[in-house]
């Protein structure tokens, strides 16, 4: 017999009287319908907000879309006073910073996940896990401010000259500038932001890998790494892909921290050490000072592109998780 909690005992009485009083029964029928409708309405409201967001943003972007069409994506000139707007520079900047965040962040984050889920004793895990999640809790405006004042100078003085001297033949590592505000700085800040996201998801994934599979591999003589490579990583591949897509979505859409450290240029270039811009950061920097209707519409156009990419990466993440992962792999 399960113990009846106080709350359950209290509701025993209305249930009994319900059998007798038709008024109570009517109230119950009404209450059931009402609560269901309210809950369903909340869910519909959420869906409605998303639809409304898409509608409003695309409508706002309409002047720019009809004026520039898809050539907006390939033109690099962004000159508000002349009413010339092309997004190539910031789109390229978005791709470079996000790629950098993911290329550095994903391996580090997955390693952290491996450490937390498979290597660390639970006492260590219980300390480190919250710390990693704390990293995700730092507001982007503070991280950006830190990047501007602390990380920037360090990059300019030591790291950028070193990278330029060593890998200068690659166009990415061009000549260092005098200011720490650069695409490189933004990429590093985004790296710091995506690591905790991917790390905590992959930690949960790795913890869910059945113990017997790992023990089986170990019993066959696999080393720890071989267990991880042969059993843990393959069974969680789809989940990790989804986690990386989530991280990518975060990196693509981060506006504030990037706006603080990237230097706010709209020029199209490949050098990591020059100032640049991303779609989201340009919106944050120019929105309040837009000089013309077309300028605002062009910023909306960027927002619309971001929205499409953001929703696409989310849907892709959920599709990958569903199609190739989920319960099927865990139980097999």
């Amino acid at each position: 017999m399960s113990v009846t909690p106080p709350a359950g005992a209290a509701s025993l009485k209305p249930a009994r009287s319900a059998r007798q009083s038709p008024a109570r029964r009517r109230a119950d029928r009404f209450g059931d319908v009402a609560l269901f409708l309210v809950c369903a309405a909340a869910a519909v409201l959420a869906a409605l907000v998303i639809v409304l967001i898409a509608k409003e943003v695309f409508e706002g972007a309409q002047p720019a879309i009809s004026k520039f069409g898809l050539s907006f994506v390939t033109h690099s000139e962004w000159a508000p006073p002349l009413d010339h707007f092309g997004g190539k520079g910031v789109i390229l900047g978005t791709l470079i910073t996000s790629a950098m965040a993911l290329l550095i962040g994903a391996p580090v984050a997955i390693s952290i996940g491996i450490f937390l889920a498979l290597l660390a004793p639970s006492s260590v895990r219980n300390v480190i896990s919250p710390l990693v999640e704390m990293l995700a809790a730092i507001p982007s405006v503070i991280l950006g401010f830190w990047g501007l004042l602390i990380l920037g100078p360090v990059l300019v003085d030591t790291i950028e000259p070193f990278l330029h001297d060593t890998f200068g033949f690659i166009p990415l590592f061009g000549a260092p500038q005098t200011t720490g505000n650069s695409v490189f700085n933004a990429g590093l800040i985004l790296t710091i932001m995506v690591i905790p996201i991917i790390a905590s998801v992959s930690r949960d994934l790795f913890m869910a890998v059945p113990r017997e599979l790992q023990d089986g591999a170990a019993a066959l003589g696999s080393t720890r790494w071989e267990v991880i490579r042969g059993v843990v990583l393959p069974t969680t591949l789809s989940g990790m892909t989804a986690a990386c897509l989530l991280g990518l979505g975060r990196a693509l859409g981060e506006a504030i921290a990037v706006a603080q450290v990237i230097g706010g240029s709209t020029e199209s270039h490949l050098s990591l050490f020059k100032p640049g811009g991303t779609m989201a950061s340009l919106i944050a920097l120019q929105f309040n000072s837009a000089v013309s209707k077309l300028h605002t519409a062009s910023l909306y156009y960027l927002a619309a592109l971001l929205l499409v990419i953001g929703i696409a990466s989310n849907l892709l993440a959920s599709w990958v998780g569903q199609r190739f992962g989920g319960a099927g792999v865990a139980t097999r």
């Binding site: 359950g8 209290a10 509701s11 025993l12 249930a15 009994r16 319900a18 209450g31 059931d32 009402a34 609560l35 269901f36 809950c39 909340a42 869910a43 959420a46 869906a47 907000v49 409304l52 967001i53 409003e56 409508e59 706002g60 580090v108 390693s111 952290i112 937390l116 290597l119 919250p130 710390l131 990693v132 999640e133 704390m134 809790a137 730092i138 507001p139 405006v141 503070i142 401010f145 004042l149 790390a199 003589g221 080393t223 720890r224 790494w225 071989e226 991880i228 979505g249 975060r250 859409g253 506006a255 919106i283 929105f287 309040n288 971001l306 990466s313 989310n314 849907l315 993440a317 959920s318």
Partner: protein, 297 residues
């Protein structure tokens, strides 16, 4: 038969293919290298956290004193703190009921058919960049009509809803099914059992999710930057339909202004904000652990 150099146990194995291939030393080396890389990655993440927090604490502590906290622009930051508290409170008041109701819909009503689409809506909402939500609310409410704290709160509420819904749903799923079944067996109406048994059992989790979303909303900058950035901060504004001074916008503006006194003020504000956010995070985590323990008992 090949003999492994280190592992004597292998010799007892009669099956040929299972004999170690003789490169066990190298395999152990690889394994150990990878393990230490994983440790290094974790150490690096914690180191970054410590470095960032140390910078905020060491610079911010110099700025903070009684006048700084209580007086307004230009000596202090009081109005910004009050303003952020106000905006976030309004946003949370709007977001919590909606989030909890969506979670109830998912756990009690949705069934197989509707769980996935609603979950997907929440995921997409959660994944939307906050700048997009800010732009949306700007177009809908601000363009041509002017800024206000209330409108910023609407944007923050949109950000909070999926967080609250997901956190609540997680605890609702932990409510033991025998409680539901016991209520059903007694003939208790569904809505009564939801309101008087299931929701109270999940209350701890709902509070946790709400606190976490408050922590997130307090630091969100993009919405307030677009929707509520014009207040000067010389006095406390309590009317939510006016422009309300707030912390994130102030930090952002100071970081763009590039003056040393401004930087000091921004560090001070950052310290206050980060302490509040981390305290909320730690507090909610402790609360969650407690309520989970209570429920699994």
């Amino acid at each position: 038969m090949k003999h492994s150099r280190r592992n004597g146990a292998e010799e007892l194995d009669p099956t040929q293919p299972l004999v170690a291939t003789g490169n066990l030393g190298r395999r152990h080396l690889v394994s150990r290298t990878v393990q230490s890389l994983a440790v290094a990655a974790a150490v690096a993440a914690v180191a970054v956290l410590v470095i960032v927090i140390w910078a905020v604490v060491s610079h911010g502590a110099k700025a903070i004193n009684w006048t700084f906290i209580t007086s307004g622009y230009p000596q202090g930051v009081g109005p910004y703190l009050v303003g952020t508290a106000e905006i976030v409170a309004i946003a949370t008041l709007m977001a919590t009921p909606v989030g909890v109701l969506i979670a109830l819909f998912l756990s009690e009503y949705a069934g197989r058919r509707w769980t996935r689409p609603v979950q997907l809506v929440l995921d997409v909402m959660n994944g939307l960049p906050s700048i997009i939500i800010a732009v949306f609310v700007f177009i809908l409410l601000v363009a041509g009509k002017g800024q206000s704290g209330m409108k910023a709160a609407v944007a923050l509420a949109i950000i909070e809803v999926p967080l609250i819904a997901r956190g609540t749903q997680e605890v609702l799923n932990l409510v033991p099914s025998h409680q539901r079944e016991a209520a059903d067996a007694l003939g208790v109406a569904r809505w009564r059992s939801i309101l008087s048994i299931i929701l109270p059992a999940a209350a701890g989790g709902i509070v946790t999710a709400t606190l976490l979303s408050v922590a997130r909303a307090a630091g969100e900058t993009a919405p307030v930057l677009l929707i509520d950035s014009l207040a000067k901060g010389d006095k406390v504004v309590l009317n939510p339909f006016e422009e309300i001074p707030n912390v994130p916008v102030r930090i952002f503006q100071l970081s763009e202004e590039a003056s040393p006194e401004g930087f000091t003020e921004a560090w001070g504000l950052s310290l206050i904000l980060i302490v509040i956010i981390l305290a909320l995070g730690l507090g909610s985590r402790a609360l969650l652990n407690r309520s989970k323990r209570k429920m699994s008992r």
